[in-house]
């Protein structure tokens, strides 16, 4: 087999692992599991090709707060390959300090960042390279890939070739049924686009991994199975909370001054990159413990700005000018959340409602860090910083990064999955994807999604 023709042809009992979703998380997980001979079934709502009707019907959403009406839905792609279909291809590992609130550390994930780089066919140097910059700051570029990996194309063989991974397309998991003691998932309901339904019973030893995206994972755990009042894993009302994005404030500041402000160049094997400045550990602590990525975009001097002309004269040709694009971290707030809306998708799953605000606790650290950067270059007489206030306090754009909705933690009262990405209480239910991020840092999430998914694969096979 490879692609299973229809729900009626499915023999679910023969797979070790059932994976819900076929994006970077689901495919990387299947990749690593199948390499160890573990048999997997990937269940995907979408088809091999993107279909706008499916997309609209399954991701319609009521949105409140920042980032705009269509934002979350547009970054929850229902097709084979998932949201990699719209991935921009930026990669960076999270920093050590980004893991402070997580139950795991960067060193737990470091080997898997290298696995993730291998999967993406990128040099592992992207996970280790950084360089000194001004005091208080570091240079840590984003690896950028033009023509980013589309997992649906990369893993086409799962559809066409017989192997340990089978794929069921056009089928949606519509609910998860808990056993009486609510310590394992006993079964799930599947819905095919032609209206066919089937109930699947999970056999002993079989495990289920939700890899349905930041929205989809929350949706499946929020939805109570018929005859129950609480979704599986939502016993402490934590599912859907801590929704985070990376608020983007484009062209919101400028750094001008001496040529020594030019960022260093990463080694050639790093590949294409975007130059990026981050606080060092001490500065991070001083400015509110949120990661603020400052992309430097080289530009011409602004001839209209008297300050730039003055500095250009002052530094007499030893002069460079950059715009700064901010990509920042939101604090994990229980009030930024996904809840169920009163309408349903074609499979009968409740559609979602989102509430997400980037508040003063997001924006103030950005002001603080830009002021610190400004003071640093001023004190050293190396340059000056301009802060465009109104851009920084306006509605930010986002990266399409849906994080935090099934947060990882040791304490089940304030999290959904444990350090092994297993849903608290449930022995056979796991989550892969950015929904498990305890905090979001400022790095684009895909590399971390793949790292966590491959770490989960090793956990499931007893290797980690």
């Amino acid at each position: 087999m490879a692609q299973i023709s229809s729900l009626s042809a499915l023999d679910a009992s023969k797979y070790d692992i059932l994976i819900v979703g076929s994006g970077p998380a689901g495919c990387s997980l299947a990749d690593r599991l199948s390499a160890k001979g573990v048999s997997c079934l990937i269940i995907e709502t979408g088809l091999a090709e993107y279909n706008q009707d499916i997309q609209t019907a399954y991701t319609a959403m009521d949105t409140r707060g920042h980032f705009g009406d269509q934002h979350w839905a547009q970054h929850w792609i229902r097709a084979f390959g998932g949201t990699s279909m719209v991935w921009g291809g930026w990669c960076a590992p999270l920093d050590e300090q980004d893991f402070e609130a997580w139950p795991i550390t960067l060193s737990d994930l470091r080997p898997y960042y290298d696995v993730a780089a291998d999967i993406l066919k990128l040099d592992r140097v992207i996970n280790s390279y950084e360089a000194a910059y001004l005091p208080g700051f570091r240079f840590k570029p984003f690896r950028t890939v033009y023509g980013a990996m589309r997992f649906g194309e990369e893993y086409q063989s799962y559809l066409t070739q017989t192997g340990p991974v089978d794929v069921l397309l056009g089928v949606t998991v519509s609910d998860l049924q808990p056993n009486e003691g609510r310590d394992r998932v006993s079964g799930l309901s599947l819905h095919q686009s032609d209206g066919t339904r089937r109930e699947i019973t999970l056999r002993e030893g079989q495990r289920l991994v939700l890899a349905a995206g930041g929205m989809g994972n929350a949706q499946l755990l929020l939805n109570p199975a018929p005859g129950t009042e609480t979704g599986v894993g939502n016993e402490t009302d934590q599912v859907g909370r801590y929704l985070m994005e990376h608020p983007h404030y484009i062209n919101t500041a400028a750094l001008v001054g001496r040529r020594r402000l030019m960022p260093p160049e990463p080694p050639a094997n790093f590949g294409d990159y975007v130059p990026n400045i981050l606080a060092d550990r001490a500065m991070h602590a001083k400015t509110g413990k949120l990661s603020v990525a400052m992309e430097l975009v080289e530009r011409e001097i602004n001839p209209v700005d008297r300050v730039e002309r003055y500095l250009s004269d002052k530094y007499d040709g030893d002069f460079v000018t950059y715009n700064i694009n901010i990509r920042s971290e939101m604090p994990a707030s229980a009030d930024n959340r996904v809840t169920l809306a009163p309408s349903r998708d074609p499979a009968g799953l409740p559609l979602l409602k989102t509430m997400c605000m980037a508040g003063s606790d997001t924006v103030r650290p950005i002001f603080d860090i830009l002021e610190e950067l400004g003071k640093t270059v001023l004190t050293r007489n190396e340059g000056r910083v301009f802060i465009h206030n109104d851009t920084l306090v306006s509605n930010p754009s986002g990266g399409g990064h849906t994080m935090g909705t099934t947060a990882m933690g040791d304490d089940a009262r304030i999290s959904v999955v444990n350090r092994d990405c297993r849903v608290h209480r449930y022995s056979n239910l796991y989550v892969a994807g950015s929904s498990v991020f305890t905090t979001g840092g400022s790095a684009n999430p895909t590399l971390t999604i793949i790292a966590l998914a491959t770490r989960l694969a090793d956990h499931l096979t007893g290797a980690a």
């Binding site: 062209n251 001839p303 209209v304 700005d305 000056r384 465009h388």
Partner: protein
């Protein structure tokens, strides 16, 4: 004329209720006239030097002088508030004031007009943008509240 402190602040913020306050400086003088024992009236002063978004030192400000406080040179430009020229762009920059935008146009031989977006513009990223333009503009829009434009005389 008698005003509360709150009304005075509103006037300074440009929120003038029912025409009570026509001119902020008149208000200041009027208030002081009411209290004969108060400080002497302000005669002349230098406008404050502020960074206008830049993180600057006092020495910078001494050298730069007051930022963003000069009026557009109306001997060089015919200035119209609430006017937006469309098209004909020869450059787009952030400018800390409309006078800087005008001065940049003045010193650019390709520039015959400019449009500046004030801090009232509804789109935050456009606030303080300065567009240098030539006579090949395709249209102009009046009653465009957040803009000021000028044409070289």
């Amino acid at each position: 004329m008698s005003l509360t402190r709150r009304e005075g602040l509103l006037a300074i913020a440009g929120i003038v209720a029912g025409g009570i306050v026509a001119n902020v400086s008149n208000f200041a003088v009027t208030s002081m006239d009411q209290d004969a024992s108060g400080p002497p009236p302000v005669t002349a002063f230098e406008p404050a030097s502020l960074g206008m978004g830049w993180v600057l030192s006092e020495a910078d400000l001494d050298e730069l002088g007051a930022l963003g406080t000069e009026a557009i040179d109306e001997t060089r430009f015919e200035v119209e508030e609430r006017l937006d020229y469309l098209g004909g762009d020869v450059g787009a920059f952030r400018a800390i004031s409309s006078s800087d935008c005008a001065a940049a146009c003045d010193s650019d031989p390709d520039c015959t007009r400019f449009t500046y977006a004030t801090t009232r513009h509804e789109t935050a990223s456009k606030r303080k943008m300065c567009w240098l333009k030539n006579d090949e503009i395709i249209d102009s829009r009046k009653d465009a509240g957040a803009y000021v434009s000028g044409r070289k005389r």
